[in-house]
Amino acid sequence: MSNTATENEHDPLIPHGHQQTGRVGDRIFRGFASGAGIFVLVIMGAIGAFLIWKSIPSLQADSTNFFTTTEWFPDDNPAVFGIAALLFGTVISATIAMVLAVPVGIGIALFIAFYAPRPVASTLAFITDLLAAVPSIIFGLWGLAVLMPNMQGTAQWLNDYLGWIPIFDNTLGIYSKSLFIAGVVLAIMVLPTVSAVTREVFIQVPSEHVEGALALGATRWEMVRMAVFPFSLPGMISAAMLGLGRALGETIAVALILSAAFTINWHITEPGGNSFAANIALKWNEAGPIGLSALIASGLVLFLITLVVNMLARWIVSRRKDFSGAN
């Protein structure tokens, strides 16, 4: 987090007003730099504006409630479509991903920051970051061809022993292409995000706190619980939310794994389910004009959801100025 007033001690010798000495080069360069900064704001505004503009035709044509309908026939006359099933699938798969990825991600960050021997810690950090560089299409392909056959047993076990919990109950006896598997793949994909941001926060913990706790006779876990967690709680929350933002918007891996269905099915190990992003990718090329507009409308909802999640996360982080979560 730069840019804040405290950062400005960069050039203490140059008082603020002194920059405008009339040197043309300075003014032009400053203009370019500010322009680039403003461009970022313009793009973010333009994304929202254009998506709203182009989603209006379909929202006007929709003959049912956009938020509660679980069908998707925008090119019919009258158009019938709504985002209920998409919202459900997106939220459930992202929730599964969070339940799995947040504890493990924090564990990895703890391991690298406090448990791993110093010389190997940076290499291990590099390796987990490598996971972030693997393209999502490859996770999708891997999830489909390698993970899915191997998840059969786990899903079946959940049904056999935890089937009394409604979400693990599987009435079909088919365990592939489910929201559960999509959630597991998403968890693997957001792990590097969660662990990288948490690690960055853990490194900020003052070593006086850490060493003080240990000097008082705390075990390593007590040190983590009493010195590290209280200090880094906001950072951990925002790391989880940044991961959530990624999981909500992930397209290709989810599109490959789910067998797209417009239903709300609480049995998460059964085939089916859908998500905003996956639906856009799958329906895009068969959509007519209203169909495209309807997909844009669903993309707008996704954009707004991720915007809120990310802004909350950044806001929580920015209350503590010293670290930023970006990459």
Binding site: S2, R23, A33, A133, N285, L295
Partner: protein
């Protein structure tokens, strides 16, 4: 922090157990012994056939967890038992995270390398034009050309904007405006790639009326690239020592020249690292390409007209075909893609390590 390990500690419980100053500890071989016992029992249960597949390993891990904690509780007391439990869980987290990474890399290499290297150069020199999905053959030449052109165009647009935005944030940014820019750069890193594709589709194709093209795809990649470049460049500019700036100002050099000739060159290696990381990130994006340029089976050298193939969309297309031959090609494409991405990614990290600027 590694120095802290199991030196004797005093605690009320342990003192009551023994008269010595140090509490009782488990012998050094205790974790190993517990692990061996757990694996033997776990494997035994697995061999008895009551559980599936690799689940015996999970059983063994649970046995280890319970066994060691119980033993430690009996000898060392509650606090050390919890500490050992936590340590084991944290190590487990790390192994659990490494497993999928290894599995992904291994399956891409084992399933992809065969396709790529069977008749070596042809996979790199041929396109999918007139190749039946059911038959082997064909290649990724058109996809490689598309990916390189699209990524190069998007880098050519995003790099200057990203670097200038970072210069603004570090060197000029004051007050509320800079706060907003910085905040939205962070938020922009979280924009889903499909939304970037949707935006470019509505803006470039629906509103401005251009056709689908590689250039449209490049524009959507620009949106994904800018925040990465801004953030990494910003970090680098911030660790350029102020002494350099002040020395330059003292010589009467204007601020813009100081930035262009002193600050940016000093941070250059870091900026290049950031650009390469950004390239690695966007080169693997599939979703925005599907919306803005879609697929192509043949070579299209011109990024400004007509659909263009790219490595990620090639993989997507081959998976959707679903035949054995095309799924094999998908793994081949995945192999080439991951090679492409890893070269940039590892290259960037090596560069960063070799030329790491000396932070104050």
């Amino acid at each position: 922090m590694t120095v802290i390990s199991p030196e004797p500690t005093r605690s009320p419980e342990s003192r009551s157990i023994s008269e010595s100053l140090a509490g009782k500890r488990l012998p050094r071989w205790a974790p190993l012994a517990t692990a061996v016992a757990a694996v033997v029992i776990g494997y035994g249960i697995g061999a008895a056939g009551s559980i599936f597949g690799l689940a015996w390993f999970v059983v063994a891990a649970l046995l280890f967890l319970i066994g060691q904690t119980a033993w430690s509780f009996a000898v060392e007391g509650r606090r050390h038992a919890i500490d050992r439990l936590a340590t084991t869980l944290i190590y487990t987290c790390f192994i659990v995270a490494l497993a999928p990474l290894l599995s992904v890399l291994l399956s891409v290499i084992t399933k992809g390398a065969g396709v790529v290297f069977t008749d070596f150069p042809s996979f790199f020199t041929e396109t999918m034009r007139n190749v039946s999905p059911r038959k082997p053959g064909g290649g990724v030449a058109h996809a490689i050309v598309g990916t390189i052109e699209e990524v190069a165009i998007s880098a050519a647009i995003a790099v200057p904007i990203g670097i200038m935005a970072a210069v603004y944030l570090v060197e000029y940014g004051r007050g509320r405006m800079a706060k907003w820019v910085s905040f939205f750069v962070d938020v922009m890193t979280g924009v889903p790639s499909i939304v970037a594709g949707l935006f470019i589709y509505t803006f470039w194709i629906l509103v401005l009326g251009f056709d689908r093209s590689g250039f449209a795809a490049a524009l959507s990649l620009v949106i994904l690239m800018i925040p990465v470049i801004v953030r990494t460049t910003e970090e680098m500019l911030k660790i350029v020592p102020n002494d350099l700036r002040e020395a330059s100002y003292a010589l009467g050099i204007p601020k813009w020249k100081t930035i262009v000739r002193i600050v940016l060159p000093t941070a250059l290696s870091g900026i290049i690292t950031g650009v390469m990381l950004a390239v690695a990130r966007v080169a693997g994006e599939t979703a925005p390409l599907l919306l803005t340029t879609f697929l192509s089976q043949s070579m299209n050298w011109n990024p400004f007209s007509g659909p263009q193939a790219a490595l990620p969309t090639f993989v997507w297309d081959q998976i959707s075909n679903g035949t054995d031959a095309s799924v094999a090609r998908a793994w081949g494409g995945a192999f080439v893609l991951i090679l492409f991405v890893m070269i940039f990614y590892i290259g960037a990290r090596l560069l960063a390590r070799v030329f790491a600027p000396k932070a104050r």
